[in-house]
Symmetry: C2
Subunit: 397 residues, 2 copies
């Protein structure tokens, strides 16, 4: 992709009315645009990141044996009334002369009615279906960029079982699939016990990414996997781990990037489980976790491009122009996703924007590099001067 | 995919309260589920079709040089007020204590505001961006299955140009891209002139699929490409073609599966174009156009699977079981998308469901076929008895 052709551009300044790191960087770098409080457009670079996160989640859901479907956002009032959730405060309501709808913020009600049509006996069980779909939540204080929006992208998985044992076993498989997803996203998480709300007396599990800017507080062991959300924890920071592992309880701020619920028979006569992952929230969380004072540092798995190729002094040197264009074609021919900064702007602006955009590998072609190429990882300080073969080798390893 | 594991199943009967062919077949075959009037879930098989249509559209939009982005459905009242479209009757409105939103049924208002941020001078033009996103329309009479829904999937493309000439040239390229899309979908369309509404005094163009069940009426020449929507036509059936080609004007019913508008400066100081394709409507239109009295006949490009493998008499014959399982593995290894009917149900039920589902190529393994395989195209009457190598050759050609 030629950077000169990109629809969205970086901004000279940070947005004025945003406090969160993810909103500041994503808006300034041109990954998202703000339409109103808690409502964003994913610009082309941002959509590439969002799609990569979705695809990782999709692959792990498919590996779990779940089938993808797509439910609507318009959910008739009768669905919510059947479950007693019409008056949950987060529902955006629409009233016309003929109908009333609540916009979907979750889909237990809808999938239950659909499953009724197809699950006729125990022989039709177990089943698991998921969707990656826009959700709507009336948040009184939409804030923190992609972390708490009014419209956001979710993956929601629902499973159906004939008994508690079947649900329990699938619940553990789903937990493993979730851990694999966060691992692929290079996002360390803690699995914290949390309250089941009105769904279940059992604990549910939250996948918490430890980030200083997180809204949640968790208590977790320094040594073992013990972790609880503040809401349910009976320990405090400095206590010895209740699992007697010899570790000490620490208190940390965290962002909830997933949750899994054993719903049991709350919605149906079968045993149901419900499993959520906030796709757009994960995008925001990655920025909160992985940045420096110059910009974003995307993990390779979700970066909008693998390589950012900068041609410096394009307008002054025919050689630079030719070498850069040739390298661009070589990378494309090798199926390496590359953003080529072919803009006629000062070198300083290109270097500044490259750090802001946060693409993992930066390649520079300039008068100074001559027939060589300067390669630098966004995460690292030092650069190397390599020839084309060495660059390709480096990108393949 | 094993058919025995599918979440959704075919129904014994047609739905009672549906009149349109597409709703009847898609519901009965388990491609979609109805949630309320004009609101549907895309079940796993249906989502596969929808995604294939989306991908064809996406590829042709990318080839046109347009970039994909994703705008929100929640659009603040101020956007609609700026364009004077807040009180358009199709807008679903949401009012909370703090905000008012109209759900997006089109996105000229939103993309205009975003483009303002990035298009600072003529040097930033031309630009073209598109999205594939759920739209919402308050249809008083939601009907005809996927043809006229309240929530539906659209591709909307917007282009920006410095002058009328630039817009005109891109408009023609978009028209060609559209024709390529319908060609890939195996959907013959007529390009009909239509009214520009309050946007433009020029004609706009509609892509009309000629189907008896269509809502629109068009007049078109039997010989040349002359075609007009009834709303603007000054001819009647039987007239000689106004283009003097010697052809005769015919009157046909049709479904509008795309439209392109030269908006000019209606929304901005640049020259804008707006180009829509109803993705879910196309799915319904394909069923209206391509079916027989036994079920759907999917064109290969959008079929949920390329091959439907039926094992008949599975429970009675170990050989059938082994041969079918082996063929299933062979097809998967060759990356041929295959649905394997491994259910323990009578042969008649499998054959009936295969016709209903409409997958292009049916393969039968049974006691009768022995080590051979019966291959039948859904479109054709006759079948052939082939060995595995011949089947693979047939699928590759």
């Amino acid at each position: 992709m030629l950077q000169s052709r990109l629809f969205a551009k970086t901004s000279k300044n940070f947005p004025k009315d945003e406090e969160s790191i993810n909103a500041k960087y994503l808006l300034r770098a041109g990954f998202i645009a703000k339409n109103s409080a808690g409502v964003f457009t994913f610009l082309p670079l941002g959509l590439r990141v969002l799609n990569k996160i979705s695809q990782i989640v999709r692959e792990e859901m498919n590996a779990l044996g779940a089938e993808e479907l797509l439910m609507p956002a318009l959910i008739a009032k009768s669905y919510w009334e059947a479950s007693g959730r019409w008056n949950v405060p987060v529902v955006y309501k629409i009233k016309t002369d003929r109908e009333e709808y609540g916009l979907g913020w979750t889909h237990e009600e809808v999938i239950k009615i659909i499953a009724d049509q197809f699950i006729l006996s125990d022989r039709d069980l177990p089943q698991a279906v998921y969707q990656i779909q826009n959700k709507f939540r009336m948040e009184p204080r939409a804030r923190s960029g992609l972390l708490r929006g009014r419209e956001f992208l979710m993956k929601d998985l629902y499973s159906f079982h004939k008994d508690e044992g079947g649900l329990g076993a699938f619940y553990e498989s789903a937990k493993s699939a979730y851990l694999k997803i966060y691992q692929r996203l290079e996002m360390p998480v803690v699995v914290a016990e949390a309250s089941g709300g009105d769904f279940t007396k059992d604990f549910t599990h939250e996948f918490q990414a430890l980030v200083e800017s997180g809204e949640d507080t968790i208590f977790h062991c320094s040594k073992c996997d013990y972790a609880q959300n503040k809401e349910v924890a009976k320990v405090k920071a400095g206590d010895t781990c209740p699992k007697n592992c010899g570790g000490e309880v620490k208190e940390s701020r965290a962002i909830e990037v997933g949750n899994i619920f054993r719903l049991g028979q709350r919605f149906s006569s079968w045993f149901m489980g419900s499993y959520g992952i906030g796709i757009s929230r994960i995008m925001g969380t990655i920025v909160e976790m992985s940045h420096d004072d110059r910009g974003i540092i995307w993990p390779e798995a979700v970066a909008p491009f693998r390589v950012h190729l900068l041609a410096l002094g394009l307008d002054k040197s025919e050689t630079v122009k030719e070498n850069a264009a040739k390298l661009y074609e070589t990378l494309k021919a090798k199926n390496i996703e590359v953003l080529f900064d072919d803009r006629l702007v000062p070198a300083g602006e290109k270097l500044f924007d490259a750090d802001l955009l946060g693409i993992p590998t930066r390649l520079i072609v300039s008068e100074k590099t001559g027939i060589k190429i300067e390669l630098k990882q966004r995460r690292e300080k030092d650069s190397q001067l390599l020839d084309v073969a060495e660059v390709l080798q480096c990108l393949n390893s």
